[in-house]
């Protein structure tokens, strides 16, 4: 269990992260709604991109953490890695859901349709289904190493969909635009400087939010484990 000094130190670090995340989000909102120029062909609706891409980045990053932590769990059999994977999968699903919501809202005025069964959209939907299944598997089965092992395998297999999502617009004819941030000419070459700066701030804000949420969820899961352990001890000793 953590000492009171460690708890106080953790709380102070969390407070700094909360303020920093809040400030960067404020800067993001100012950049999106005041600073960034309106795109010529799509108009004001193109500003959805500054939410849509960071949500996608956050969910892919979260699933990458699930992938790494699941491998580490299967290798080291340490419950801590399972906690990290679980917390990250939950955050990933939330932001992947937001990608699947903001995408159609952006698509409707531009493509004239909420949804098309395009390779990128379909593979993103599959990714969402895989990680919702991951959370359902964890929720429906009994706690223990078997649950963690099955979840870890699903967490690793699910991540293999992400390279497919990235390259889908290059490999197949797609409605979804080609990558604008990571292009064959270099990072950010396909965008105007103001737009790239706004996207950069937004990506920073969402990344900070990820670390903030991860910290809270991991502490929560650790506390839950500690309470369960004490409950078992009380039960057996009485």
């Amino acid at each position: 269990m953590m000492s009171s000094d460690e708890v106080a130190e953790n709380a102070e670090e969390s407070n700094i992260l909360v303020w920093l995340t809040g400030l960067v989000f404020l800067a993001t909102m100012i950049a999106i709604f005041i600073y960034v120029p309106t795109e010529r062909t799509e108009g004001v609706v193109q500003r959805i991109m500054y939410f849509h891409i960071p949500c996608a980045w956050l969910s892919f990053f979260a699933f990458f953490v699930v992938f790494i932590c699941s491998i580490l769990f299967l290798w080291k059999k340490d419950r801590e890695w399972d906690i990290y994977a679980h917390a990250s999968a939950e955050i990933g699903v939330i932001f992947c859901s937001l990608v699947l919501i903001t995408g159609p809202i952006w698509a409707r005025p531009i493509w004239g349709a909420w949804w098309v069964w395009d390779a990128r959209l379909t593979s993103t939907l599959i990714l969402w289904i895989i990680y919702v299944s991951y959370l359902m598997l964890r929720a429906q089965s009994d706690p223990g190493s078997m649950r963690a092992r099955y979840a870890a395998v699903l967490g690793i297999v699910g991540f293999l969909d992400i390279p497919l999502i990235h390259f889908s617009v290059l490999w197949w004819r797609a409605f979804h635009p080609q990558p604008k941030v990571i292009t064959s000419e270099g990072i950010g070459k396909g965008m105007e400087t103001g737009m790239l700066a706004t996207l950069g701030i937004s990506l920073c804000a969402f990344t900070l939010l990820y670390f903030l949420l991860m910290g809270v969820r991991v502490r929560q899961e650790n506390l839950k484990d500690e309470i369960d352990r004490l409950k078992r001890e009380t039960l057996y000793s009485s």
């Binding site: 108009g43 004001v44 609706v45 932001f95 809202i105 939010l209 839950k224 309470i227």
Partner: protein
């Protein structure tokens, strides 16, 4: 301006989603605090 409603909707969904998730975390925290209090009570009743 055209399509302002779509921008507003996307913005609202993103903030709504984040706020809802933070709310569920708070709820889980509250449940854990209750569990902890109950555990403390049980232990003090048993004189430990």
């Amino acid at each position: 301006m055209d399509n302002l409603g779509f921008l507003f909707a996307a913005n609202a969904f993103v903030w709504g989603g984040i706020i809802y998730y933070v709310y569920t975390i708070k709820q889980r925290n509250r449940a854990l605090e209750k569990d902890l209090e109950l555990l403390k009570e049980t232990l003090s009743k048993e004189g430990r």
